[in-house]
């Protein structure tokens, strides 16, 4: 199965320098119940160093719950999570442990308008994170802020601006810089480009690819957008109602889906020449009441 992106993908693995087998994030048998509702049921996957994983699903699939459990915002009902060789199956109790974990796995959220403190400039936001994770003198911090700003494509004026003076794409860049300030091994992108205009989305996707090339961070991309998934990830798992229905290399999952749900998902994506067809929605006529 020749993937036209083949040469690029192979070179990415080469850059990993043979350490591409090291898992940086392992999730096993993850389960989350909210009362009677089982949001996540027996999910397992592994993310290896310098490789990126997509978690594909629609609303109600449990994908955001998984992300929140990995970063410690939600407590799993069962299952284990291991990052950088250390267990993090339950949320940290102390700020010190949370800080250490923050240096391993970071997250960028979907909505650029609420993921930054409206009263903090980009500079101050990044500075706060730097002070949390590293003990650098002020001048070293300033140059690190400049480095990070350059890495995400923000100029000086934008770095000193408040969020309300920045566009959605620029705010996401600040959010990415803030996440990278902790120098994490894994960066979770929770629908981080979904709210952006198409042309801005392309810029940010290119940026993310550049960052991955220069820092060897692994992405866990949570998205319903299959084209974005194809562009940014090596492997993918498909979630439906909390259960993994399919997994494998992204190219295989998208080019030759095995599971009914994956096939339907693939067939629902608008593309040139696409015509929507009225088919039976899974469970149509028995639409669940919104939780």
């Amino acid at each position: 199965m020749t993937d036209p992106g083949g040469p690029q993908e192979a070179s990415r693995e080469h850059q990993a320098g043979g350490a591409g087998d090291q898992p940086v994030l392992e999730v096993s048998g993850l389960r989350k119940e909210f009362g009677d509702l089982v949001a996540v049921d027996g999910v397992s996957f592994t993310v290896r160093q310098a490789r990126s994983l997509a978690i594909v699903g629609e609303s109600g699939s449990g994908k955001t719950t998984i992300a929140r459990m990995i970063v410690g915002l939600e407590r799993p009902t069962a299952g284990t999570i291991t990052a950088c060789g250390r267990d993090r199956s339950s949320p940290a109790r102390s700020a010190r442990v949370r800080r250490r974990r923050g240096g391993e796995v970071q997250i960028v959220f979907q909505d650029p308008y609420t993921s930054l403190d409206p009263r903090q400039t980009a500079e101050a936001t990044i500075d706060e994170v730097l002070r949390l994770h590293h003990s650098l003198p002020a001048d070293r911090r300033r140059s690190r802020i400049a480095e990070l700003a350059a890495l995400v494509g923000l100029d000086e004026r934008q770095t000193r601006a408040l969020p309300r003076a920045l566009s959605g794409g620029q705010r996401q860049r600040v959010a990415i810089a803030r996440a990278l300030a902790a120098e994490p091994r894994v960066l979770i992108l929770d629908e981080s480009v979904a709210a952006l205009d198409v042309s801005i989305q392309a810029q940010v996707l290119n940026l993310l690819a550049d960052i991955r090339d220069s820092t060897s961070v692994s992405y866990v991309l949570i998205s319903h957008d299959l084209a974005v998934v194809r562009q940014l990830t090596d492997d993918a798992i498909v979630l439906h109602r909390g259960v993994v229905v399919e997994q494998g290399p992204t190219a295989s999952v998208l080019d030759a889906p095995q599971h009914e749900y994956t096939k339907r998902l693939r067939a629902s994506v608008p593309r040139p020449g696409w015509k929507p067809r009225r088919g039976a929605l899974l469970g149509a006529g028995k639409e669940p009441v919104q939780p």
Partner: protein, 349 residues
């Protein structure tokens, strides 16, 4: 049953149902009157579906609101909007009510446009009962029937439910059904599926397409998704910085666009079938009408094909190959705007 059978799109008379003519809208933004729409002109024939595509600030939603007479107070409007020959802006009383029956709007977020403490049935039958004097029993019967048309079984039970008991996709289908009840001639759909899951979106789009053809309705379909518009619209118009920059047959728009912005938009989108080394991103960001320079092409600063001629004046909309393009170099660039497709390879940066 009250099904309205209108002319099919092929036998349609060529007199347009909806005509927007040189529409310019100014709003008070941060203390000054700024243009949000500049000289927008478009036409929708009876039974035809026109897509309106654009990014943030392009003016697509503002155009829909102008057509539906939902502009904010203090908006300065020049130009004309004509529906069935009548000037929309001067309608009042019975004429306005007739207009509201004739043009049905479907919004992006159904929950924001539905009263959460009233039942679905009340909401759906309101226009029928108040504007068209249909007796309540008959109105509810028609509503239940229409729910069946949009794929919601058990209509009578659904009519007694409240909005929070329905999922987003179902509620949007209810909105479509409600819109069709007044037997409109034109559907104004403003990003109706943006907030829905992609599988739900496909279903809702299919329903919209089916019903539109069955009832012979015209439609103005607003979206940011070029491929989505092409899926159910005969023609597609592209907006940038408050202006129409291209109008083209949907089948040709993606692979043979007439304006560099359309080409850039299509090329910036990742491809589900292959991984590109880098996406062809457009530098800069989309502008609103009031940010764009007034006496040159609004897209010129970001356009890879810009030349001196582009900065001399705002280009006019010129006809080309059955479509329209607001590019000063449209004739020169004809057929050359998507070279990467011709080569059959992946896009390189």
């Amino acid at each position: 049953m009250g099904r309205w059978v209108g002319p099919g799109s092929r036998e349609a008379s060529t007199a347009p149902l909806l005509e927007v003519d040189g529409l310019t809208v100014r709003l008070r933004v941060e203390g000054a009157q700024r243009a949000v729409l500049r000289d927008v002109s478009l036409a929708v024939r009876p039974g035809e579906a026109l897509g309106l595509v654009g990014e943030s600030g392009s003016g697509k939603s503002m155009t829909a609101r102008a057509i539906d007479r939902l502009l904010p107070r203090g908006a300065e409007v020049s130009g004309q909007i004509r529906f069935d020959g009548a000037d929309v802006m001067t309608l009042a009383g019975a004429g306005l009510r007739g207009y509201r029956n004739g043009v049905a709007m479907i919004f992006q977020d159904p929950r924001a446009h539905v009263n959460p403490v009233r039942r679905i049935g009340d909401f759906m039958t309101e226009a029928l009962r108040t504007n068209l004097d249909v007796p309540a029993g008959e109105a509810y019967r028609r509503a239940a029937d229409m729910l069946g048309q949009v794929g919601i079984d058990d209509g009578e039970r659904r009519l007694r439910q409240y909005p929070h008991e329905l999922s987003g996709g179902m509620l949007q289908r209810v909105m479509i059904a409600a819109a069709l009840l007044t037997e409109p001639k034109l559907l104004l759909a403003d990003e109706p599926t943006t907030a829905l899951d992609v599988t739900t979106q496909a279903e809702v789009m299919a329903i919209l397409d089916d019903l539109r053809r069955e009832f012979g309705l015209a439609m103005l379909f607003i979206t940011h998704d070029l491929e989505l518009a092409a899926a159910i619209c005969d023609r597609t118009a592209v907006m940038y910085a408050g202006q129409i920059v291209e109008v083209r047959e949907s089948a040709l728009l993606h692979d043979d666009p007439l304006h560099p912005y359309t080409a850039a938009l299509a090329a910036a989108r990742p491809d589900i079938a292959q991984t590109a080394h880098r996406l062809a991103a457009i530098p800069g960001r989309p502008l609103s009408a009031f940010e764009a320079p007034e006496d040159e092409c609004a897209f010129a600063p970001r356009c890879p094909h810009a030349r001196d001629i582009c900065r001399e004046a705002t280009p006019e909309l010129i006809g080309l190959d059955g479509g329209l393009s607001r590019c000063a170099r449209a004739a020169d660039l004809r057929g050359r705007l998507r070279p990467e497709l011709a080569e059959g390879g992946q896009s390189d940066d």
